[in-house]
Amino acid sequence: MRSHALSLLRHMLDPQADFRPGQWEAIDIVAARRERALVVQRTGWGKSLVYFLATKLLREQGAGPTLLISPLLSLMRNQIEMAGRIGVRAVTIHSANREEWDAAEAALAADACDVLLISPERLNNDRFLKSVLPGIAGRVGLFVVDEAHCISDWGHDFRPDYRRIVRILQNLPKGVPVLGTTATANDRVVADVQTQLGPGLTVLRGPLARASLRLQNLQLADQSERLAWLAENLPKFPGSGIIYCLTVADTQRVAKWLQSKDIRAEAYHAGDDAHLDRPALEQALLNNEIKALVATVALGMGFDKPDLGFVIHFQRPGSVVAYYQQVGRAGRAVDRAYAILLSGREDDEIQDYFIESAFPSPRTMNEILDALAQTDGLSLNEILNRVNVTRSMAEKALKLLEVDGAVGIEVAKKTTRYFRTPNPWRPDLERAERVTALRRAELAQMQAYVTHTGCLMEFLARALDDPTAAPCGQCANCKGKGFRAEVSPALVAEAVEFLKRDELILEPRKRWPANLFPELKTVIPPDMQNAPGRALCYYGDAGWGKLVRDGKYVQGHFNDDLVRAAAELIRDRWRPDPPPEWITAIPSRRHPRMVYDLAERLAAMLGLPFIPALVRTGDALEQKAMANSAMQARNVQGTLAVAAGVRPGPVLLVDDIVDSGWTLTLAGWLLRTNGSGAVYPFVLARATARKT
């Protein structure tokens, strides 16, 4: 069988190609012996080659198609092409390619598909279970579990769905082979995966260091310095690359800055589907049409560009393993590639937030279960109406409860409903604490990496228990030279200016939460909605954010610089059309003067009349205490009314900080229903990601 496999390999690659160490062994275990193997090899080693060849051999023996479970959503075109050369046909089914499902199912039913690629969530999807699996008569010839380190709680990447995969593999009868693959598993993770998948698992492990990669760490505290550094140094890097950021807002900001410096960079993240063509962006990077994608980890596993020239981290990732995995995308097929880690002041704060918001509290979980137990099913919105929890935290809680078997999912009439199952549920505090402690330890290790003075590649390899770890001779520490941290002061000043002009658009809310106003329709009529508004900055950020924080909580007064910046934004950059003819503000009982004072000075600068047209009729709690939109809307309901003085012209509606946007929505609706023209909301700052 080996010689046959080798001829297939040569057909796929080139006539002189040979197996790399470990490749044939893995194929032999799954395709000939039909047993289980775990392959721990660096990215680019050729894991896909192993499962394509194994699939081909199994199919020749009459086995069903391979089920490839991977959190990455698309096989890269070149991989599929490679498989196609030996007649292995791959099909993907995921939530974003609904239009291709019918064709995929038809191909499966006609036995015209050899590899079915799905995301882990699919395994509990109704259509997958009722239509796809029966379509192949349940014949799965080989299970491939990509990113198999996620099976272990000790892995750097916690994915609840992998617990389902483990239980499936534990239920899998003899004779159905399993191949797990990962590039990032230390000894503890490997041992844990072995325990969970049973003693019949053979581990094949290779060296992880990458000779072409030049690692360097630079510490630049302020965002403005890092932006300046990027603008100055990016053109010096070979080819195209990736700049990783920790938040979506940062990807947008960095991309915009680089564009302003005539560097071709685009933001890439998981949100905002309507405005982001992710496949096109990936393609642009693959074709070297852009210098860099500025991405969150959404651009991740499985993205394969052999000539990737650099990976730069604008902020520091949470673990050494995640960092290794991300920089491992560079330099696969080139002699020299760079991995630069910039780290700054905000890193710890962001990582803290990630760690603390990773697990919903047991109380939240129980509140959701209690709400579900009283019914035979609720939608997410119905849950948010009953439980004071953020949408994202509720989604996390539901995912965990679903994987724990406490909650079931049903999709009917396009609505997803969650229902309580009879399975008991107890919070696994130990697990949550274990994972949290692990994240803290990983963060500490990452902090140590940033200031490490020895070989950086060796540090990474050791963290992954690579027995061949040794000084690389390539990194900035080994060579004793690298990129300079210093940047031109003029460029830093420019970056500071940029940050100060990096205002945000406030999209108007278009619907009330269900049942908030029983007498109104949930859709707000377009002529009663606010126009798109503006926020000068994110609360607390490196541009104006610090001044806003200082004004709100230290001085009790917003200084004139802020008012001037606001006036410039409105008059010079925003220029609402038709222009506002008067100004009003959100009244506050807690700080009655602060916002009015801001609005009056702004009115004076813009030469418009200030009219306090709104009054408080009740006290709302601070919106910060409300965890989700439905709760926030309830909180402001009935707290505002219109006094005299509404004018018919367009109006600028001023507040200091926007959180949920419900106060502005309610105020705008009141103004419009009382005869005002278009309502343009303006706030100094937008609250950032909130903790629960």
Binding site: R34, A63, G64, L67, L123, N124, L129, L133, P134, G135, A137, G138, R139, V140, G141, F143, R164, R167, I168, L169, Q170, N171, L172, P173, K174, G175, V176, A373, Q374, T375, D376, G377, E402, V403, D404, G405, G408, F419, R420, T421, P422, N423, P424
Partner: protein, 327 residues
């Protein structure tokens, strides 16, 4: 809990798990499985788990099967991947699977039904409940006030004297007797003909399952729709699981209750009591003529004595012979 290899093989061969609605090949019926199980026991393979991973050729020679039959078995056994995925889904909904080879499989079904005991059972709730001492309560879906209150009395009495209520968990008599027993923190076992997946979602059912007071079982696929055949087919399980049966209302010569009760009287799985009152329907009187034991209405004693009363009256019933079961 992961299935044993024997159970994996039986579920693959004898259940609908992971198959389309109109499967080709179809899973084995009991009538097909039983002779194969005998053959298997006599062969070098010895037990069902040994079938896993065998090719058509292996199956053909090991079990001396015709090509087409071996092909069918191989096709059914090949869906191990779907089995694993589907069992995991069922487990996360709170549904378990038992086969005749499992220790937890209700001993009474094996003993009393022998080869007609279902090869595969799906269930939810405490799997030790089916087989606990109890009374099978059967009757019509359409009930008058008198039978309603009688069914409620029986449910309450069972709870008081520690008998589980066995029923088909259908509307009418079943639901009333079961519901009353559960309200009084008694126990119940429902044997469903369809829709196990849906049934366990109703809030009161779900909480009784979670408390361990209720178990629901079915020999059919957990998502199976209603069929008359299935409704008839599960009747024998209700009788065979209990210590006694009580027919509250039955049509004469037609309907599920009648068919189930006459079968039970003939098979003598358990003593069958029949509600004997002047207002009882014609079917009740005919069943009494065919060997049903009269059950008085009103019950002459306090509800807590129901257990003793049934035991005394049934003492004349023949003890049942036992023999080891098949896979």
């Amino acid at each position: 809990m992961a299935l044993t290899p024997d159970s994996q093989a039986i579920v693959l061969l004898c259940s609908q798990v992971g198959l389309p609605v109109q499967p080709d090949p179809a899973p084995l019926t009991l009538r097909e499985w039983n002779p194969l199980a005998r053959k298997l026991r006599a062969s070098a393979l010895g037990h069902p788990g040994a079938l896993l991973g065998l090719s058509v050729t292996d199956l053909k020679s090991a079990l001396d099967l015709p090509e087409a039959e071996a092909e069918r078995l191989a096709r059914l056994l090949e869906r191990g991947g779907a089995l694993a995925i589907e069992l995991e889904r069922l487990a996360s909904l709170g549904i378990w699977v038992l086969t005749r080879t499992d220790e937890d499989y209700p001993q009474r079904l094996r003993q009393r039904l022998k080869e007609s005991a279902p090869a595969v059972l799906f269930g939810s709730g405490d799997r030790a409940l089916p087989g606990q001492p109890g009374l099978a309560v059967v009757g019509s879906r359409h009930v008058d006030e008198a039978s309603k209150s009688f069914a409620a009395f029986i449910g309450g009495a069972c709870a008081q004297c520690g008998l589980a209520v066995y029923s088909g968990a259908a509307r009418g008599v079943d639901a009333i007797a079961m519901g009353t027993a559960l309200e009084a923190r008694g126990t119940a076992v429902g044997v469903l003909a369809d829709s196990l997946e849906r049934a366990i979602r109703a809030p009161d059912i779900r909480s009784a399952l979670a408390r361990g007071d209720l178990a629901l079982i079915t020999p059919y696929a957990p998502n199976a729709g209603f069929s008359v055949g299935a409704a008839m087919g599960r009747n024998r399980l209700i009788y065979a699981l209990a210590d006694y049966a009580l027919v509250i209302t039955s049509d004469a010569e037609k309907g599920g209750t009648w068919a189930g009760a006459t079968e039970a009287l003939k098979a003598k799985w358990v003593p069958v009591f029949v509600l004997n009152s002047p207002n009882a329907p014609q079917g009740n009187h005919l069943l009494l003529q065919r060997g049903g034991l009269p059950f008085p209405d009103p019950f002459p004693d306090s509800p807590s004595t129901l257990g003793n009363w049934l035991a005394t009256r049934a003492s004349e019933a023949q003890p049942l012979p036992t023999q080891p079961g098949l896979f």
